[in-house]
Amino acid sequence: MKTNKVKILLLAMLAGLILLTGCTPTQTVKTAETVKKDTSWMFNDIVDATFVKAHIAVPMPKNVMMIDARPYKGKYAKGHIPGAVSIPFSQFDKKTNLLPKDKNTLLIYYCEGVKCKLSHKSAKKAVKLGYTNVKVYAKGYPEWISLKGNYGSYDAEHVAKLIEDNNAVIVDARPLKTKFVKGHIPTALSIPFSQFDTLKGKLPRDLNTPVVFYCGGLKCKLSHKSAAKALALGYTNVKVFDKGYPEWKKIYGASNKTMQVKAGTEEGSIDLELFKSIIANNPDSIMLIDVRDADEFAQGSFKTAINIPVEDLESKIKSFPTDKPIVFVCATGARSGEAFYMTKDVREALKDVYYVEAQIDFKADGKFEIKKSI
């Protein structure tokens, strides 16, 4: 009887063991099958950031094209790898004309990271078109922008939005006399790359302020070199506008279409708050003329102001540049107002002319106080 009980117990244990050993492998296989990802959507030639860095340059080599497959407005315009061409996957068929004629050109597609399929789908389409050297930078823009020393590029319309919102410092890295004075993006500061080290003090004190560098377009290196220097100085939000001034001019014209100087309540006067903001953030975006006498000017004025006493102004009006708004200042608005009407009378075609209708108290230490006129 006792032997039977032992036998039953042993049999039960054996059965349990068989069940255990029999079930466990089956369960493991099922788990692996569940976890296994479907990678069939992925392109077969994936590259990393090192490969991308080794192949792109400014200007972009003729046998390389970096292609952003993300939507233009929501993604590309707000930040892309410098030099990349925008061919959103949704418009691939419509924009095949943007692809290079040489089918052996290295095409590197990217989009919004490892889960984004747009670059992979675009790459497959490119292969179908006959391109023989197609890669996908799968980690895409999110990784690119997170890597030390890298920076993104904006498109013109995003730069215009930043200017409108007064949300970034725009820096023109081209030479001052031969390029900047002939035309530049409104509100831009002139810090030619060749003078970066001596003029870097013009950059904002707050290292987290967004700073956007631009120069003469996709073949120009100056904005990139300046961006690298700004990053080295510790600026945390550095971007370039890679298509630069030629693109800006093409879209918005040489004149200022996006930034109109807001007029104040008196005819010809500049909005006082706007004037204060310009002086604080972008004093170089206007031509500031102090029309007080030379002795008054010598005792203190705005840093970017030039002195032309109102008595000497008339003969100089014809030579005023037209690439940026002209703003006259004095101590009370009386002489600057006179300067405004004189300019309108002598050179009617000059539209962007204003004066500051306010009491300005210039201090000896370079500071000043602006009060609304009574």
């Binding site: 005819e267 002489r335 107002g337 009407y341 009378d345």
Partner: protein, 116 residues
């Protein structure tokens, strides 16, 4: 009774202050900034004809009171300035602007003109 009198007094003071403020801010209504330029322009043109020696006007708004300028401009009596022809040729709007410049920067105005 005392409260009533106080309330009446306050109302009176309020009316008086408002009245004087309204009149104090009342001026000719032209553009004094433009008037300053036009006034100088008149003399520049006048100097070219040789009627006056200097193109810089000698009379300043601070030379008289608001009341005195009011009398001169309302009567259009510009003899003191000279350059009669130039004054005659001026459109009414320009005269009003010059009047505003003189009135707003008269010696007893809140912001009398300096020589600048």
């Amino acid at each position: 009774m005392f409260k009533k009198n106080m309330a009446s007094l306050m109302v009176m003071i309020f009316i008086l202050v408002s009245f004087s403020m309204a009149f104090a801010s009342e001026g000719p209504g032209g553009n004094d900034r433009k008037g300053k330029y036009t006034y100088r322009k008149v003399f520049k043109a006048c100097a070219k004809t040789g009627e006056v020696e200097s193109a810089t006007p000698k009379i300043s708004p601070a030379d008289k009171t608001m009341g005195q300028w009011q009398e001169i401009f309302e009567n259009k009596n510009f003899d003191e300035f000279g350059c009669k022809d130039n004054w005659t040729e001026l459109p009414d709007k320009d005269v009003l602007d010059i009047y505003s410049y003189f009135y707003n920067h008269a010696s007893d105005s809140p912001s009398p003109a300096t020589c600048k």
